[in-house]
Structure formats: structure tokens, C-alpha cells
């Protein structure tokens, strides 16, 4: 049968944002695939060269709409590394709490999108409803719903609001109960299981060589989580386990994210309990020294990294952003080839695409 190229995107229900997946099909089997990105390129790296260090804080939020706090935090860490600023201990714990809430909210949003991709409308409604709890908590903490602008160079913007601890613990209890319910809902669905188990296999060797990070890497059986392996903020004080799964298919990626949400609840509880009293912010210098700074964190989607070059002024000379999804999606070909056209939605949905950070 004649082979042909099909464009899935830029406008397609599967894509969740503007990007294009070109696949070459032989009948219904995929023989080649090529993602195309860049539709949302805003030139953030160039914009940052013309803004002061403080002005970049809200821009860093706009890198990803699903996990903006994580990028805001990564930017602050990078500049703190460049300026040599020590963050107070209380701020470190507050960042951990906020980051884990962001992780849960991001994974819930992924779950909602993934469910609706695979035809489970109920899953979409449930996950979106339960994500709202963490969005509300983050709103009470930071003042806004999606682009938080909470971290500052040298700490966080303000202290915890009243009753925040009580509400967070309640939210964790609630989420842990609900995740059991999700397991019944999703894994009890025969359609969901048929479209997930054994689909989109990525071997351990390929995942490591192709630079895949985050949940897809751990779902391929590599125990690598930067919160443990290159620990930052207050994570060394907290007892948790990176989640891995040996199979490397779509089901493994789903399972890793679900269990990570439970692990995040554990982290929030411990961080709230161990949080010391004291200052939550120190004053950072206006100008950065000549030199370089590096930040590296475990974003909900993988390894987020920033590299900043300072030249002694109040503006960065160069700010390079590493987006985890930009690299992960380049491995799409390895996951897609050999499967059917109908599997594309499950495979690409399982990667948790976020176009804001991919295109920057």
C-alpha cells in the first residue's frame, strides 16, 4: 500500500496547544513521525536580555500555564546561584509546599486532558474538580489562580495566610481518598486499559539516550528524580521515594503520575510539619556579578534547567532555558513507530505536552 504523510495539527483535538505532528502511515501503521514545534515562539530568551532581573519574574511564570510556579522558582534559583544569595529556611519549606501543590495541580490537569483524549468525559470532570482545591489553596497563598509570581530572588513574596496549614492537610486527605477513586474509574474502564497497556513502549536505553526526563523516564524504569539526586531547597530533609515503573508504556506513565500525586501529599504534610518560624525573604542585590549561574529542578514534566550569564549590570547577558518537553517530544518517533494511528492520541497525550515552555 502507498505510504503517505498525515498532519495531526496544528489544529487538532489531540494537540492541547499549537503544534503539529506529521506521521507517515502505511495503511494504519505508523512508519515515521516528525513533530513540528515553534508556533508559540515568543522569544522569551531575547526578551529577558532587555529586562532587569526583577522584571523577568512574571515573564518566567508565562513559560508554562500548567506549572508556572515551578518555572518562577527555577528562575529564582538560577539567579540566586549567580548572585550567591542564601534563601532563609522558612522560605525553602514554603517553596517546597507550593511546588508540590503545583505538581499535583499540574498532574490533575494532565489527567483531565488525558481522560478526555481517551473518551472518558467523567474522568475529565472529576480531575478538574479536584484540581480546583489546589488552585484555591495556591490562590490563597499567592493571590492568583494560574500565574502565581510567588517566588522572589532571595525568598518568597509573603508569609503563609491564616489557616493555610489546616486547609492544606484537609486537601491532602481529600486527594488521597480521591486517587483511590480514580484508580477504580480509570482502571475499571476496559477501553482505557486497552488503549494504554503495551502502547507506546520506550525502552530504558532509548529513554536515557534521547534525553527523556521526568515521569516518562521514570516510567521506563530509570530511578532518577532531581528532588533526590541533585537535591534543592528543603527536599533533603523530607522522606519520600521517587516513583518508577518498569514497563515504559502509556499505562506506566499514567501510573507514575498518579503515584507521584500521593507522594506529593506526603511531602506537603512533612514540609508543613517541619517548617520553622522566621524570615521568609532576604534582600537580593540589584546587580549581578560577572559569572554564570545554573538552576536545575524537577518540573512536573521533567528536568527544567536555566543557565544565566551575568555581566555586572542589572540585566542578564544571556538566559538559556531548557524545556523538558522540548527534548521529550523529540523522542516521539521512537515511541510512535510500529503503532496504529489510533494510538497516537494515547502516546502523545501521555507525555503531558505544554507548548508554552516547549516553544518559549
Amino acid at each position: 500500500m502507498a505510504e503517505m504523510w498525515i498532519n495531526m495539527g496544528p489544529q487538532h483535538p489531540m494537540t492541547h496547544g499549537l503544534w503539529n505532528l506529521r506521521i507517515k502511515v502505511d495503511g494504519e501503521t505508523i512508519t515515521d513521525a516528525e513533530p513540528e514545534v515553534g508556533y508559540l515562539h515568543r522569544g522569551i530568551e531575547k526578551i529577558c536580555e532587555n529586562r532587569t532581573y526583577t522584571q523577568i519574574l512574571p515573564i518566567a511564570d508565562r513559560l508554562c500555564y500548567g506549572a508556572s510556579l515551578s518555572w518562577n522558582h527555577l528562575y529564582c534559583r538560577t539567579v540566586e546561584d549567580l548572585m550567591g544569595v542564601e534563601v532563609p529556611e522558612r522560605a525553602q519549606y514554603m517553596r517546597v509546599v507550593a511546588l508540590e501543590m503545583q505538581r499535583i495541580a499540574s498532574h490533575q490537569m494532565w489527567l483531565a486532558a488525558y481522560a478526555v483524549d481517551l473518551g472518558l468525559m467523567t474522568g475529565f470532570i472529576y480531575a478538574m474538580r479536584d484540581r480546583e482545591i489546589f488552585i484555591d489553596l495556591l490562590q490563597s497563598l499567592t493571590g492568583s489562580r494560574l500565574t502565581y509570581n510567588f517566588c522572589r530572588i532571595g525568598g518568597v513574596a509573603h508569609d503563609l495566610p491564616p489557616d493555610f496549614e489546616r486547609d492544606s492537610l484537609r486537601a491532602c486527605d481529600y486527594t488521597e481518598k480521591k486517587i483511590d477513586e480514580y484508580y477504580d474509574l480509570f482502571e475499571g474502564s476496559k477501553v482505557f486499559m486497552m488503549r494504554n497497556v503495551g502502547v507506546g513502549k520506550l525502552s530504558k536505553e532509548d529513554a536515557m539516550n534521547l534525553g527523556v526526563t521526568g515521569p516518562p523516564l521514570r516510567a521506563s524504569g530509570v530511578k532518577y528524580d532531581l528532588r533526590k539526586d541533585m537535591s534543592y531547597e528543603a527536599y533533603p530533609e523530607i522522606d519520600f521515594q521517587p516513583i518508577t515503573h518498569p514497563d515504559g508504556d502509556c499505562y506506566a506513565r499514567y501510573r507514575v503520575r498518579m503515584e507521584e500525586m500521593l507522594e506529593s501529599c506526603k511531602i506537603i504534610r512533612q514540609a508543613l510539619q517541619k517548617m520553622p518560624k522566621g524570615k521568609w525573604r532576604v534582600v537580593a542585590p540589584r546587580n549581578a556579578p560577572v559569572g554564570t549561574g545554573l538552576g536545575r529542578v524537577e518540573d512536573p514534566r521533567g528536568e527544567g534547567m536555566m543557565y544565566v550569564v551575568g555581566d555586572g549590570t542589572d540585566r542578564p547577558y544571556r538566559l538559556k532555558i531548557r524545556s523538558p518537553i522540548f527534548v521529550t517530544v523529540s523522542a516521539a518517533k521512537r515511541m510512535l513507530v510500529g503503532y496504529k494511528v489510533a494510538d497516537v492520541v494515547a502516546i502523545m497525550g501521555g507525555l503531558d505536552m505544554c507548548i508554552g515552555e516547549t516553544d518559549r
Binding site: D206, N209, E303, R318
Partner: protein, 168 residues
């Protein structure tokens, strides 16, 4: 050398958080032995983070050695930085077993911004090199598909260069 290689393979299965001074020393010694003239300024930035400068002619061989003999299986990031007299390419390479991060810096002159592509060593470098070409105009020799990735194919500039001004 063979026994060291064996250690590294076992190291993959070890639990994390064992960034020892010992592993750092081994990486520094192995690389300096293999490339005594082209590797300069080897330094420990902090625990588990190393930095070195390398001549661009030896970059590909060094990267192959890093992956095959020292267990650096993951390329985190490739950043291109423009200076008044040169371009710098910063490769952040990390190891899953020992959780080490190596910052490898190579320099190209302004009139010939090209280095050897490492995308045959690490598949994850492929798109990052295309990005560096697209935005900064660095040429990567032997790259499988060196085309623009974020900007349209007919875009005429490399916008991250300092001579390209944003706005009217």
C-alpha cells in the same frame, strides 16, 4: 580502565545521593589523561558539579568517552552564548548513576561558528543543536538535519545574536 567501566555499569543500579569526592576525582583524572593538551581549567564548582574547557576539535571524542567510559548518559542542555570576540557552547552532561553534572565549555571563533555535532552520541542533543543553530547561528558538522526548528524556514536572522535588535 576496564575495571572502572565495570564499576560504572553497576553504579547505574545504586541508590542515589552518593555524590562522592571520589567519583569526581575519577572523572577529572580520566579526562585529563586522555586529553592532556586540549582540556583546561578543570574545577569543582560545588559537590557533584564539575566544569571544564575543551578545544572544539576534541569535543566529539571527549563526549564519546564521557558516555562510553564514564557513564554520562544524559545530555541536559546545550547553550550557545555570544561574546564580543567568540561564541561559547556550554554542554551540561549528567550521569544517572553518580548524579554528577559536568559543564563542558567549548569556544568557536566569530568568523567560523561551527563545532562537531554530538547528536550521534546522545539523541537528546539533536533538537537542542537545531535550536542553537536556529537562534544563534552555530553550525553543527555532521548533524542529521540541521534546519530551523522554532522559527519559520524562511526567517533571515539568528535572533539571539546581539546585533539583532527587538522592536522597531
Amino acid at each position: 580502565m576496564e575495571s572502572r567501566k565495570g564499576d560504572q555499569r553497576e553504579g547505574m543500579e545504586r541508590p542515589p545521593m552518593n555524590v562522592g569526592g571520589d567519583a569526581d576525582e575519577r572523572v577529572i583524572r580520566t579526562i585529563l589523561d586522555a586529553f592532556p593538551t586540549s582540556v583546561k581549567d578543570f574545577q569543582k564548582v560545588r559537590a557533584g558539579v564539575l566544569r571544564a574547557r575543551i578545544d572544539r576539535r576534541d569535543l566529539f571524542r571527549a563526549c564519546k568517552m564521557l558516555r562510553d567510559q564514564l557513564g554520562f548518559e544524559h545530555i541536559s542542555m546545550i547553550s550557545a552564548v555570544e561574546y564580543a570576540d567568540r561564541f561559547e557552547l556550554v554542554y551540561h552532561v549528567s550521569c544517572y548513576g553518580s548524579c554528577m553534572l559536568l559543564e563542558l565549555i567549548t569556544t568557536t571563533p566569530r568568523d567560523d561558528p561551527s563545532v562537531d555535532s554530538v547528536s550521534s552520541v546522545w539523541g537528546g542533543a539533536n533538537w537542542q543543536e537545531r535550536e542553537a543553530y536556529d537562534l544563534m547561528g552555530i553550525k553543527f558538522n555532521n548533524h542529521p538535519k540541521l534546519e530551523r526548528i522554532l522559527l519559520p524556514k524562511d526567517f533571515m536572522y539568528h535572533p539571539l545574536r546581539k546585533e539583532y535588535k527587538e522592536g522597531p
